[in-house]
Symmetry: C2
Subunit: 202 residues, 2 copies
């Protein structure tokens, strides 16, 4: 894929630690999500630009790929069964598509934090509000670099990401999309060190 | 649990093959979902009666239970991290919480059926319309008796349900709920024989 990448990306986004952003991409554009310092998860969701009721669906994606770990060549599907993104390059090769984005309530329940705390759900909702998308429309997201393991009996364990500084995943849009993306705010997912995410779109 | 069950259930629902229904339950009520003839999946979703933006979340449920196979004693959580249902009795012990409900598009893609076909998404949406809930608000559902297996490398296989005629799962509502429930319309999930589901609420 490297050969197809222009010298200068069309658009560049820098996501500060524990924040998020939203942006649009056009069909066929490439989105490279870069782990700047390593071991950092990035939560991604997306919506069809022409229909906010069409959104990224973990359920359809797991069904059509017949697997829960997605990597190069795999397609991410919408609730209406249309391909939204294809993973075109994935040197890390381990991501999660089971978990909902971290939220205020999750920090309360899991970490005992009763006050405010940065979290992916609020960061996605705040960023996607510009596109008239609100928190209740954000479900299970594609947790890039999140390292979830499942034992044979179904027990789920979250381990530090396998991504190192500069590692990336590259996706290609199959339709015009609104994308929401975060640098995840949770301790456990990011080996207890929350860092930045860079994005290139061309 | 049998000792707490009254001689006559308060409410009884019969779900014909390849159809669905919706109904409300009050906090603490019990819902028994019965596989009448065996090997039949029932797709369940639910919403808080006081807030349609609070709904059953596979992502939160998998997170808080730290497992994908849920059974007796496990709680099913909402997107707002509140317990919605507790599994109080589960002789079968194998259900799926990864898949989206079968849909028109899924039958096209997976079975090559281009015309109309009964499907759980349409059946849920049609039943839940009475509560002002529409198809785009129905995500990954709790697929009762659906027998999904995951290998160590993440490959997902759908096998015939382990439920036999008369087998059931019993859930208890933790808040007032709107429940949508189907007798699943897909071949593969139901060992290629779609049959009825009975429900008792007390």
């Amino acid at each position: 894929m490297e050969k197809d990448r222009p010298a200068l990306p069309i658009t560049y986004h820098h996501i500060e630690p524990q924040t998020g952003t939203a942006f649009t991409v056009e069909q066929d554009q490439h989105i490279r999500v870069i782990d700047v310092e390593g071991e950092q998860v990035a939560d991604l969701t997306c919506f069809a630009r022409c229909n906010r009721d069409e959104y990224l669906s973990s359920g359809r994606t797991i069904d059509y790929n017949e697997k829960i770990y997605l990597t190069t060549g795999d397609r991410l599907y919408s609730n209406l069964s249309n391909p939204m993104l294809t993973i075109v390059d994935d040197p890390v090769g381990k991501h999660d598509f089971l978990f909902a984005p971290c939220s205020r309530e999750m920090f309360h329940r899991t970490y005992g934090i009763t006050g405010p705390h940065p979290n992916c759900l609020d960061n996605l909702a705040a960023s996607l509000a510009a596109y008239d998308i609100h928190a209740a429309q954000i479900f299970t997201v594609f947790n890039i670099f999140m390292n979830t393991s499942i034992s044979e009996n179904g027990a789920v364990t979250v381990r530090p990401p396998l991504s190192r500084a500069g590692d990336y995943i590259e996706l290609q849009a199959r339709i015009d999309l609104i994308i929401g993306l975060t640098a995840c705010s949770a301790g456990k997912c990011n080996n207890f060190r929350c860092t930045a995410i860079d994005v290139e779109v061309w």
